[in-house]
Symmetry: C2
Subunit: 563 residues, 2 copies
């Protein structure tokens, strides 16, 4: 857990490096962003040789702590042109940590058309030729990698969209059940991986002997404490395992913040057919391979992930999550869970972000290319991404670019990144986060839906957004799942866990300091990349058009943000 | 010539306003940029209600002076996101001036799907419904307008691309022979006009009685002096009228600055088939409606425009110019003038900029969508713009956006605008202009091809670019053709002409001051719009890849620009 692995795709070499002292407390997002800040020229082309792709796990990854195995991916984003971190559950970060690696830095580029695989096991890291995997979908790539490296291998991989350098391409990794669909979806990082010539990373931790926690008993005591909090909090003990993240749809629909028909309103008349209850009832009603709850990370006790089966009981997609249901469902006027699940699976297979594609579909529908609510037409449109047609190219280029191509003005994007499934007029604190986060429009950068404010009013939103952004950056910077944040009774325990694991003596303040420095550094990188405060705002139409469901425009203006 | 006409497409009203004293010396680009600076919020969406479209003629328009009738169009650009002025010859500015109007300001937006026509004649201005013209090509629109308003009407109009709000859409006006293809092509201003709901402006100056010059004899004496300079300068007396702007191709090809195959080299082996001699010989050999020389503006003595005929002697397109030949020819590896002429005509008819489309075709060819040099495939691709297919949408969205959609890294664009037909490694001064002009990559913003420097060396380029940008802004701000600049023995005569026309006492310094203020204001508008100095640079590949024809990379770095 104290090494950085550097891989150079031009020289085809790999080298292990000690963590510099100045990086000691950094992991997850704080580490990816710091390496990007230190090593990538802010004006480098995201798909050119000067960019770097960094994977990092958290300081608590690979242990028995629940929800501690988020994989952070970072780079200069081809979608936003700024610094980017996107993280996901799955097994990769857990295995990285057990292999003693805190970060993998991917440098330079392979010759055009040459594809490689990075294999890391107890023998060390090595690059292998992987031309035979190119152009395959994610599921087929994964099954070939399982055949070659065993079904328990951790795999980080991209789909055809990443190979084609499409701006909506994500990077995925697998869950403990072998589903290869835990996506670092945002920011087009799949295109960065594709531009290096790297198709996949295989992590085999069999035989790895990670150091036990230095103060083992205290560490394990704290792990049990966190487990108790998870069990004692209704949200993590009952809601998430039962309804998954789709539980959110009932909340956003109720407050008028569910993006519907390209953000033209905030409640969807078909909500009851795609909400958390519908997801749960469909899954349990069909049975078979389906389950409303499973862990996406080894040892996770919250288990908000699910496996969504078809009518025949066979798994269609895992997970089926709120963001996808919101953006490919309500935002497209579609109320058919089966169609949404199939589109989700296709996007996973092609390797594109369902939020960007859902946004782009909404704009395409508004532009008249296909009707709102027409699930069959939407499915055919998504299939065009797989067939790599011009329309498929447009849909996989991110909503900001797709909107320009389609001559749209109502384009839901900030700093080039599509809005996730929270309308910023009905949930203004999250709107402030969209506007100001260095990541572009991103709910995981600081969602205020649980904050104690009236979400449709102007008052207090800047404060709750800032607190939420700081909190999210803290969790991201320790590789922790945001879901865990909903039940942590005392965040000081996080510093205690780190201290006990490594035999350090660190406090929560140390990590809140890291989080604030990370935010400042990300902001400074963006400034140097030419992304100024003028970009800290929502698309114009949110200030001009009332969302009828909540009766509000977005009225938190540049001057209110008080930078 | 001392009025501003304001037209509001929301209230469907028009009003005449006196020129404010502070605008007294402003015309052409200095006037469009000043009105945009004063009236458009820098963060307004270019296609939203807050943007304005301004047309302006020059202070010397409508007189007997040669080459004085450029029409400036200005707005916040949907292509660059910054301030934009693009100008063209044609009859519109001449007629505006004779009708006593120095600028037309188009405000607000019509209801979606409603289309209007602005008619200006001696009875005054009025808006008329024009839904029947929508979706028609430029040539058909023009012929209907000629039928309704007479063959001598001046018409400013957009094609279907402007109606569809496509970022590569231009605004055209007609020449004295009725060809409606004098394009303000750059910056997507056609989409701004389309977003207002304005399809055309009709200018009927019959019966107009403009004031004669105040000091008539002196004015006419200066007009004759300029005419003599035109006749005495080989460039304007012999080269332009004989070979048109295509004469440039022999120069750029010789110095290694002719963009070839998506800027992969700077000389084209097929150059002799598409250069100035080839254009001249083809036209004169075919005869019929073709001519190697005619005036695009009333009274122009330089006559660099041409009419290019097909094998049957019938006119295919007018004009066929260097930029189009360079970008749709050499940059696409195409050496067939007939194919280039047909693509040019189609782009004119659809209402898109041939530079942007030529750039986008080059990137599409590099991305493997069609082969370099395949004229038939290129023609089919251009036809897709007319058919409004997804590929057509991509090609008409500007090369920066098209390149993102196609997953390209070698995208020849600065500030979102495609590079015209001068490779910045072979012509480094123009490269500095591309990098630093507030207009984005634009040869008309300050082309240094005639400057007395070694074009492939680093030395002196910043200086010649700055001088050239100042000179171009001066000419643009008086509505004068840059061609005239090549023969002006003493620019002080311009101030004399203005003074004699209006009975003022102004000096050249007054106008160089206006030009410098205009550049500063444009830059400030961009800064407020979020376009900072970080955007003052060429695409990365020009710094990294040697242009084999001139043996150079672009090596004038950010720090050399010495802002």
């Amino acid at each position: 857990m104290h090494k950085i692995l550097r891989v150079n795709l031009k020289t085809l070499s790999a080298a292990i490096q000690e963590i510099p002292e100045s990086y000691r407390l950094l992991s997850g997002r704080s580490l990816t962003s710091r390496i990007i800040y230190d090593e990538v020229p802010p004006l480098a082309h995201p798909l050119g040789p000067g960019n770097r792709l960094v994977f990092a796990c958290g300081l608590l990854a690979g242990t028995g702590l629940s929800s501690a195995g988020r994989l952070s991916a970072g780079a200069k984003s081809p979608l936003t042109g700024g610094i980017k971190e996107s993280n996901a559950g799955g097994v990769a970060a857990f295995k990285m940590a057990r292999l003693g690696i805190r970060a993998v830095v991917v440098e330079e580029q392979a010759a055009k058309g040459s594809w490689y695989l990075l294999v890391i096991d107890k023998k060390g890291p090595r690059l292998e030729k992987a031309d035979n995997l190119a152009t395959l979908g994610v599921y087929e790539k994964a099954s070939r990698l399982y055949r070659q490296y065993g079904p328990r291998a951790g795999i980080i991989l991209i789909g055809p969209a990443g190979e084609r350098l499409q701006p909506a391409a994500g990077i995925t990794n697998n869950d403990p059940d072998g589903f290869p669909a835990r996506y670092c979806g945002r920011g087009g990082l799949g295109a960065v991986m594709g531009s290096r010539g790297l198709l996949a990373v295989v992590l085999d931790d069999s035989g790895a002997r990670p150091d036990p926690p230095v103060r083992k008993d205290r560490f394990n005591g704290r792990v049990r404490e966190v487990a108790r909090w998870i069990r004692e909090t209704p949200q993590t003990a009952e809601v998430f395992p039962r309804y998954g993240t789709a539980a959110m749809l009932n909340i956003t629909n109720a407050i008028g913040a569910l993006p519907t028909r390209n953000f033209s309103t905030g409640t969807f008349e078909g909500a009851a057919k795609i909400d958390g209850y519908a997801v749960h009832d469909t899954i349990t009603g069909r049975g078979g391979e389906g389950t409303p709850t499973h862990s996406c990370m080894p040892g996770c006790l919250i288990r908000c992930s699910n496996i969504f089966p078809g009518k025949d009981g066979r798994a269609v997609v895992s997970p089926l999550e709120y963001e996808t249901i919101g953006m490919m469902g309500a935002n497209c006027g579609i109320d058919e869970l089966d169609a949404i699940a199939v589109m989700n699976r296709l996007c996973n297979d092609y390797g594109v972000d369902t939020i960007e594609v859902g946004c782009a579909l909404g704009v395409a529908m508004e532009a008249g290319l296909l009707p709102f609510g027409d699930a069959a037409a939407a499915l055919r449109a998504v299939e065009e991404i797989g067939r790599d047609t011009p329309l498929g190219r447009i849909l996989a280029s991110g909503v900001a670019t797709a909107g320009r191509v389609l001559g749209a003005r109502r384009i839901p994007a900030v700093k080039g990144q599509g809005l996730p499934a929270y309308d910023p007029r009905g949930l203004k604190g999250t709107g402030v986060t969209y506007a100001t986060s260095p990541m572009g429009a991103d709910h995981t950068a600081g969602n205020t839906v649980r904050a104690n404010v009236r979400h449709d009013l102007k008052e207090g939103q800047v404060g709750v957004s800032m607190a939420s952004q700081a909190g999210a950056t803290l969790m991201d910077s320790l590789g922790l799942c945001l879901m865990l944040g909903t039940c942590l009774k005392d965040r000081e325990i996080l510093a205690g866990l780190v201290s006990d694991r490594f035999g350090w003596d660190v406090t929560l303040e140390d990590f809140t300091g890291v989080a604030m420095e990370t935010l400042a550094m990300e902001r400074e990188f963006n400034r140097r990349a030419g992304i100024t405060e003028a970009r800290d705002r929502l698309p114009e139409f949110f200030y001009q058009e009332i969302n009828p469901a909540c009766g509000a425009v977005f009225d938190i203006f540049d001057e209110d943000l008080g930078k």
